[in-house]
Symmetry: D2
Subunit: 284 residues, 4 copies
């Protein structure tokens, strides 16, 4: 993969934004490998993403950012600059179920995910061997026989030592305390095992079974303080029928969970997502 610079921009829409930004890039020799734009009619907000071949630029990153800050001010932009060579540090959090964790680990192992997985935090011991085979540190946090607050404080401290850019809840079944939600706002990704907003909270497959739905789904979203209410990155579903027990739904849903989480995470790692209010713009 060639090294690229990614520029994510959000600002009030007006005539001339694309012209100004693309002129800025062209003047510095920037060869764009991808360019995406979105104008939101309802809010009047404009979004763009440019991916630029790093070696084509006549200025270094620092200069580019300093220069761009001036332009950005003129358009009242919120913007994010990132470099594909600066790999994001990811921490995975898991509970007892292995499928999402195993899937992300394999994708990472086979080079499909551009990131460094710096650790796994889990409230069970059963996945240690799988994680350590990948040469990734495994941090067990005991949630039994003590106060949740105490365990959560240990989670927070453990995360802090790894300083992750992204935290992925790979079927981590504990409620995230508000302080962690705030600390990792916009960079903590959860997979919920239902097609949200259906079946918020615990036991969504049981609820789906009881309601007699004909599709079960999964939703990847950013974690906010409101349980299962954060901005959605991706969703998908799979067909079920009266022949499927709740256990069948759980099994069929696993594949959907894995894929939806992997797609959401991939988009985040490639800086393809802008959050606007409680919604996402995803440039793919």
């Amino acid at each position: 993969m060639d090294r690229t610079i990614r520029l994510l921009i959000s600002c009030p829409d007006k005539v001339g934004i694309v012209a100004a930004v693309s002129d800025f890039i062209a003047q510095r020799g920037g060869w764009m490998t991808e360019a995406n734009y979105h104008a939101d009619r309802d809010t009047g907000q404009f979004f763009m993403r440019s991916e630029i071949l790093a070696q084509s630029l006549s200025v270094d990153s620092e200069q580019f950012r300093a220069d761009f800050a001036v332009l950005a001010d003129g358009f009242d932009m919120q913007w994010q600059f990132s470099d594909s060579d600066v790999r994001k540090k990811v921490v995975l959090m898991a509970s007892h179920a292995s499928h999402c964790l195993a899937d992300i680990l394999h994708r990472w192992h086979s080079g499909e995910l551009e990131c460094d997985i710096v650790g796994v935090v889990a409230n069970h011991e059963n996945l240690r061997s799988m994680v350590e085979w990948h040469k990734i540190p495994y941090h067990f946090i005991n949630f039994k026989d003590r106060e949740k607050a105490e365990a959560n404080a240990e989670v927070e401290a453990t995360l802090a030592t790894m300083a992750p850019d992204v935290v992925v809840l790979a079927r981590y079944m504990q409620i995230i305390p508000a302080s962690l939600c705030q600390q990792y706002h916009g960079r903590m990704i959860n997979i919920h095992h239902s097609f949200l907003p259906s079946f918020v909270g615990a036991n969504p497959y049981q609820k789906a079974f009881d309601r007699g739905v004909k599709l079960v789904g999964a939703t990847c979203h950013y974690v906010t303080e409101q349980l299962d209410e954060g901005p959605i990155l991706d969703q998908d579903v799979i067909r079920v029928s009266h022949r499927d027990s709740k256990e069948d739904m759980v099994r069929l849903g696993k594949d959907v969970e894995q894929q939806v989480l992997a797609r959401g995470l991939r988009a985040h790692l490639q800086d393809r997502i802008v959050v606007q209010g409680n919604k996402t713009v995803i440039f793919d």
Copy 2:
């Protein structure tokens, strides 16, 4: 299509049901073209559907039914006997939107649906010409400038004159009064323009847009007194993105609504559905 007899059975599960029923059919020369079974582990209920070539039977329908009633008693069966030659009478109900109505009319016109469409009831006049082109009576019920109850009474009376076996709400946007729900219990089919239980009630596409979901869907269900809570016949979804306005979602959703309604209706017309509690067993 060959004439067939369809037997739908539901009873407490025990050893020997299939043997008894299939022996009963075989003794009367019955050639089965389809046979489906389902044992529900949770409730201990057993379901079966047999489709039998009519010409293969050595007894007439009346005799078959009389004989079968004896067997059915022994197993505490609820059962339904139907004859593919006795086409169900269907009334469609519509409002202003044409897509579901046009789709059903065309499927019927091209021979895809085994039924007689005996009338359309609508609270707008705009679809009259389309319906009458199909040589189907169009009953306009005025819901403006008078009490809902009065209009609903006219709906009920109009339906009564047609004595439908099935009523299809093809995006009929009025609430169905409880009396009608009861009268057509298990044979009034609605299409709701969301993936239930998400977005119950009015304006589901607006709600879906506001929530930022990545799929929009539709649900075909039997109408009960609880709005959008009846047993689900079918559901499906289509992918949307940040590029899609609410109007795009409405447009994309139309195709899903049409197909889901058509599949649900087809299954009902072919006597493939057993309702168990608030869920459906659909033999396809």
Copy 3:
């Protein structure tokens, strides 16, 4: 719908294209409602589409085009300028099957397709009444009891009187002669009832049934002189099983054909497609 100007561009990729074009548009006050870019790594070709609010432009269309021609020359661009107010004239061609024709007619009737359907050409009489109900002229061309060449000459002459911008083969089952393929190159759209390149030519559902596939599909493509080999606009599939007869596959496939054709046609009508070699770039 607001009136918009659409600019479709293809040229060798180099630094500064987006800057030049967006600067050109911004200087004329152009408010972009959509902007899409694609750089093809394999061929080094660059593609872009801009949709501009017509009322925002400070120059008229003629001036815009004249000015743009100068810029385009400098970049060796192939380009297409279109105006959403200039509705494309569409002719539909059909045979005996009604489903794709009925679907397009209904979408057009309900305002979903931006075009004028100026006529239907068919080699059977059975669809006349449906077409004429939509107040669209129906041209029956007799293919029986005479030479194909003679019938095809009548087709060509009939098309010529209507001067269509787009010709849609809505399950028109005749081979298109080479002269017509050339005349309507890049604007004659066919729906083939298989997932190409599987099952080219006649009877694809029979072939699919015989091969025992678990999905059947449909392909919308531009017509070229090589049968079923033209650039693909869209494809989709639906699940089938051993329970489905060839007739079931035909029925299930109809829905896929309708949707795939409608999506392809819609993209074409909105000037979203650039053909590159035997492939399409579709900006959606």
Copy 4:
């Protein structure tokens, strides 16, 4: 999981088969947990599968089989009796790519697949550590620097030592010699990385990219001597666009390959498949 007996039957269709078989089972106290039937109109062949709770049977397996053989003779049945407690021995064959292998290993590890994986045969060394972590023997067969026939003889001998019931080609990129095809006829399962019959043979993603298809797929099939022509167990597809390079197609296709192979293998392990000619009846 309760222990069950599975009976798979295929015979010429006639009146009374279901009655005879279900009576046979009921007389021995058999509680059926699943029952499936299929009558093929084209060939006049009848298929059925019964799954019976082992503990409900009043006779042991040997007696059941001996008794059933008599009944089967009378109907000219081909039949297969299997016991869920007799886990099938599976050998996986792989090449360099890890995704299908890793997916099957994880499903097996987490208890989703009822089988014993007794070994992996591969023509590269790179997957050894992953396999051995699962405590499964890894057999490397060198295909370089010697005759294919010699290497294939070693494959055959290695397989023979493990006496597998099922061989799974999990993206094993070598051609299987005719002798092995025959030896494992109906129990050697391959995953082909295209939607067959499109793109038979090598490099299907390159072919798909070159053709400009809008969906890429995968096909799970039994291996026969005709390359990629065997009976299809399952297929699926995923949407691609002009934005996707060949490498993107490879990546997107991996998920489809994994799922299609896993579904096909699962159906085979649960004795849900009857092969008829070059097609499969799959009772799910």
